[in-house]
Structures are given as structure tokens and as C-alpha cells.
Symmetry: C2
């Protein structure tokens, strides 16, 4: 809490759990044809819901994110939520004005129902018997939470990376349930290059004997770390790696002539892999990356993105970053073109940045200005 | 052989072995401080060495290449050498005019001494006791072959990718032993992003229990396939993958909702991984990628590339490809700048191509024109 600035922090927040689908009737229907019962959604809220419930914003997290968007969980908590720089009093997602909701996606491993949850049918963990989800399934589960919270229309649904896919999906699945979308460093469909990286990551996990067909007690450490290290390379940029690490050696002045960590970049990746194994579940990683593979919004228009977007009513803020090669700017421009083809209120900015894909978490200043202005305009529409 | 065109094929070639270092005296000195005894170099030659031995060209292979550059090994051989499109009578590396040499690098697994060779000290395979090599070590071994062949000055040393690094290294290590360098899709130093990809690939191999500290009988199949699939993504481009595979599904019309090969790109990568395990040794992969990590020609100029190049006498042809993101064009331009700073005869071309790094094997036409013209000019210098 030493780092906590009481002026612009949301302070201490308490995660909450919403349960639904205890009976077969309100079970969650899934795109694969199956249903999910006893669904838990872990979520956090910040700010106060207005009487008209017209100031609610849903923030979507990325692949390995969670519901802990901002603030601290306790007085001794050292690390704030993952987008604390953007969410709080006076910040772009201004908790003095807006009621912010963030929920852990289903399929995840941070409180919401996922592959490590107990299958009510068997009394044991789902593991690989968990149904293969889609981004639309994750959004469908969030709609249950929305109804539970008494919100009829989000002022905005916002997210970066996979979070942006969920935000776009909201506009397609529930066009009348949101006023706007903030889609950051994201895409309307996953490219074969991204599918390829996801494939190799999953092969690393499933190839680790410790994975054991998903029936592990301890994580398949090596495989999961490899998947994470690989993914992490795609989150940075060639330029940011050269700036941050270059060819710097870790400990010695000369090459060690062995296969240990010689370069700083090797040590950095190793650290990222190790830390990830401590916090993220291997099976969740499999299921969520598969949901990402399957994400192609053009499917809603028989392969035609413009047609798919014809049902959308939301205004859009689309933001890309110049050095993002995971979801490059051309993918945002495709998205913007399809929105404009439908005459939708669309704002687009390609922010110059060397941070690569991770820029959506780091370029707080330029991103904050865009988000703040866009939200203010949406808010004026409802309060005026 | 059915595919063999007798008009422009070199026909049937026989690989040869050159041995040196049987005594301690002519053992190969290595950058790590160790020496290598009983060194075998597997090589092939094409065309006829002129009386003055002034028409010899050394072609360097890439990471997983071998000495079989062109032609066929037998009447029933179906597949020609790896650069057959570029080497033969009337082709850019014209065997009617030039004497072409290609040798498997030391550290490799295709005939030359590598980690799976027998250590004369122990009578057992080196495996991880093999010394960690550098690109300079590989070139030093080739110098022994050059002397053995009675060649005093290469007309050119040419190579793509890692092969280009060896070609540049020749110009640094033996400035008087070559007239020119053809450096294609390569770099003067490996970027941290490339080091990172190499690291993850090696972690996949060494994390496979089948690797067993390098003491395997059967290959660590899973780990090696993962390393290859990952590397293979870096050889293609986002654009070429979209053109070739897009989001096409392999067998079904709809998503399978499982973790098998759904997309064509997944099936393609899986195939590449499987094939690679059949032909390339896991320990060799470790040693060669490490040598690549250590490649930074600026080390010869205390970190200053222009200073490092001050000893060079060779003329250079530098070729990059617009969509190559493994060794992007800016890295070739750095190289070219340092050459020009030293007043060296330098030709540079960035070829527009969507094939990514693999373009050096595929853009035969435009590359061939450049190589052919460059070699003709060099040849005229010696025959006139």
C-alpha cells in the first residue's frame, strides 16, 4: 500500500462472486452445443452506479488478466490491479463519474468457472472435459452478470488485446445493450500467424509429461513457461527489446560458452516464464488460446466483415500501436473500414509507440487522453 | 531423377569427406579456448576448378542446411540439393564458369563433425561435451578445407541467413582469401528478438525428458518439433501465411471444438515439425543456434561495426527482402552503411517479396539476376 496514492486510487476493493445456472434452465448455452451449469463469475466494481444505471462501463481483461482491474485487495497489498494507471478518481476511466465493472472470463483461473473448476456432473475437476469456449460464450456469461447488476445498457465496453475482442463481440451479440466500444490493440479476426503461435504454445504445454492429459496436481511447469516465454516475445517489439536489452550479457563480460542464461533477454524471459507458472493455470491457457483462435467476427456476416457489422449500433473508439506486430495496425484499419462502411460513429488512432503489443498497458498518457475524451462524449449523451 | 532437367542440372554428385586434426598440431583451435581433433568436413563440389584456381566460390548453408547444394546423389534420388534452382549450368552460380564448393558446417549433423560425433578422447559421442562453437570457428574449419583444395582466394563466399553470417565472417577472418561476399537475408549481429526465439527453442528441446542431458538414443521428438515449428513461423511472414493458409480449416467445415489440428496452418506446422525430427539432430540444433546468438561482427571493432569492417577488402553484394522480419532490411542497411563508411565496393538491394525470411530460397528470379551480374563482374576482374 506504500505505493498507493490516496488521491487517485480506488483504494481497497473486494472481489465478488456471482453464481448462476444452478438449474438446467438458466444454464449457460455454449457455441459448441453444450451447456455449463453452476457458473461462477468473479468480478470487481469501482465507483457508484447512478440511479438511472446509465454510467456503467465494462472493462475486459486480456488473455491472462483477471477481475482485479484497479486498487488493492488489502492494506498490505503491494501491487495494484492490472490497469490501475487508467482506472480511478480523475483517471480516464473516472470512478468519480463512472461505475466500472471488471469480471474474470469463464475459462479463466482467477475466480470464474474454468477447466479447474468442479464439474457438477462428476464432482471432479473438469480439466479437459471442460467445453471448448468461444469469445461469444464468455460474453454470454457476462450478460448474465449485467442483468444481475441491473444494468440495461453499458455506457461502454472496453478492452485491449483479447479484451478488445470481447468488447467487439458485445456489440455483435447484444447490439442494444451497449452505447459504445473501446477496442484497443485488437483485431476482428485472428491471423494464421497468431494461430500458429498459439498452436506452438499449446504443443509445449500438452507435450510436457507433467500435463498428463490435463489431470495434473502440480502445473506442467516447463511446458507452461515455454508457452509464456514464446507469447511474451510477441507482446514486445524488436525495437523495444533492442532498447531494453540489446545484446547485453547478464553476469559476465564475455560469452560463457554454455547453454545457461548468458544474455539479459534470456534471463528476462526465464523470469517471465517462472512467474507465470505461479499465477496462471495451464489448462486455462489451452482453453483461452483456443477461444482466441476461433475468433473471427466476419463469421457473423458469412465471411464479410462489413455485413457482420451491419447489426452494430455502438459508437467505436479503435486504437492501435505502431509497433504492435501481434495485432498490427492494418487489422485495426480493417475493423475501422467495416465500421465506416456501416456509417457507424468511429474514432480511430494509431499511436506511435515502440512498446509493441504491450503498449496498451504502457502508453497510458496518449491512450488515456483518447479514452477520457471518448467516454466524456458518451456520458454527455446520456446525462444531457 | 524424373524431375532432373539434364540441361541445367549438375547431375549426380558425390559427397566427399576431408579430415584434419588427427594430431594435436593441426587440431582446430576454437574461440572458447578448446581445440577439436579428428575433424571431418563433408563437402560437395560442382563445376571445374580453373588452372589458376581463380573461379572458386564457396556457398554457405543456413542453420539446418547441409553440403548438398545442387544435383542428385543417385539415379533414383527424387529431391535435388537445397539451392538447385540457383546452382548449375547456365544458372546464377554457373557451373560452366565457376567451381562451386559447399561444406556442412562443423557442429552440424550432416557429415561434418558435430555433437553426435565420436570424441577421440573418450570413444563416445560428444553430445553436450562438444565445445560451444562460434561462426568464426566454423569458418576456421572451412579454411582448412580451402587449403586442402588448393584454393588461395575465393572468387566469392555466398550465403543466406546464417550462411550470410559465415560469408561476412570470412571477410573479417581472412580478408586476403576472398574477392567478394554475397550476404543474403542476413545480419551483422543477432538481435535480442532472435536470441529470444533461439532461447525458447532450446528450452523446448532441453525440457523434453527424451533429451536426457543430450544423451539420447532416439531424438527428443516433441521438444525438437516445437523448436522447429516456432522457428518456422519466423521464416514466413504474416502476409505469406495469410495468402497461403488464411484461416482455412483442415478437414471440417466448422470448428471442431477440440485441440487437434483444426486449421491448415496448424497441420502445416505439425508436418514441418515431424519432418524436421527425421532429418536434424537435436544437439546440433542447440550448438548451432548458440553460435548464431554469439554472432556480432561489431565485436571485432570493440562494438563499432565500421571499425570492425576496416580490415575487409572484399566487394559486397547485400540483399534483403521486404517482408523478412527475422533479419529485417534495416539490419542489412546497417551492414551496408558500415561497408560504405570503409569505402568498400558495395551493392545493395532490398527485394520486394511477401515470402518473409524464406524468400532467400524462393525469390530465385530476382535474386538470381543480382547474383549472376555480381559474379560476372568479379569473374571479369580475374580473367581479364
Amino acid at each position: 500500500m506504500e505505493d498507493m496514492n490516496p488521491i487517485n486510487s480506488v483504494g481497497i476493493v473486494t472481489p465478488q462472486d456471482f453464481l448462476f445456472g444452478a438449474t438446467g434452465e438458466d444454464a449457460l448455452r455454449l457455441d459448441c452445443g453444450k451447456t455449463l451449469r453452476n457458473v461462477t463469475i468473479r468480478y470487481e466494481t469501482y465507483g457508484i452506479l447512478s440511479e438511472k444505471a446509465d454510467n456503467a462501463i465494462l472493462v475486459e481483461h486480456a488473455l491472462t488478466g483477471d477481475a482485479h482491474l484497479a486498487g488493492y485487495h488489502s492494506e498490505t497489498d503491494k501491487k495494484p490491479g492490472w490497469w490501475d494507471s487508467m482506472v480511478g478518481p480523475g483517471k480516464p476511466f473516472d470512478t468519480n463519474k463512472y461505475f466500472i465493472v471488471c469480471s474474470n472470463i469463464i475459462g479463466g483461473c482467477s475466480g470464474s468457472t474454468g477447466p479447474r473448476s468442479i464439474d457438477p456432473e462428476t464432482g471432479r475437476r473438469y480439466n479437459m472435459n471442460f467445453p471448448v469456449l468461444t469469445i461469444a460464450d464468455m460474453v454470454r456469461a457476462q450478460k448474465h452478470l449485467m442483468d444481475h447488476l441491473g444494468i440495461r445498457k453499458w455506457l461502454a465496453v472496453a478492452g485491449g488485446s483479447m479484451g478488445g475482442m470481447l468488447a467487439i463481440q458485445w456489440a455483435i451479440s447484444y447490439p442494444d445493450s451497449l452505447r459504445s466500444v473501446i477496442a484497443i490493440a485488437t483485431t476482428s479476426r485472428i491471423s494464421p500467424q497468431s494461430i500458429a503461435f498459439n498452436w506452438v504454445g499449446r504443443e509445449a504445454i500438452m507435450g510436457d509429461p507433467g500435463w498428463n492429459g490435463g489431470e495434473y496436481e502440480e502445473q506442467p511447469q516447463r511446458g507452461l513457461a515455454i508457452a509464456r516465454m514464446l507469447a511474451h516475445i510477441t507482446y514486445l517489439s524488436d525495437e523495444s527489446m533492442r532498447k531494453k536489452f540489446g545484446r547485453n550479457l547478464q553476469d559476465s563480460k564475455d560469452y560463457s560458452f554454455n547453454f545457461h542464461k548468458d544474455f539479459e533477454i534470456e534471463s528476462y524471459l526465464d523470469h517471465q516464464g517462472t512467474r507465470f507458472v505461479e499465477r496462471f493455470d495451464a489448462n486455462s491457457y489451452l482453453f483461452i488460446t483456443r477461444a482466441i483462435d476461433y475468433f473471427d467476427i466476419a463469421d457473423y456476416g458469412d465471411g464479410d466483415l462489413t455485413k457482420a457489422f451491419s447489426r452494430i449500433k455502438a459508437a467505436f473508439l479503435v486504437v492501435s500501436f505502431s509497433s504492435d506486430w501481434l495485432f498490427p495496425a492494418y487489422q485495426s484499419r480493417e475493423l475501422v473500414k467495416a465500421l465506416l462502411d456501416n456509417g457507424l460513429d468511429t474514432t480511430y488512432c494509431n499511436i506511435e509507440s515502440s512498446y509493441g503489443h504491450d503498449a496498451f498497458l504502457l502508453e497510458t498518457k496518449s491512450l488515456g487522453t483518447l479514452v477520457s475524451g471518448f467516454l466524456t462524449a458518451r456520458h454527455l449523451e446520456v446525462v444531457s
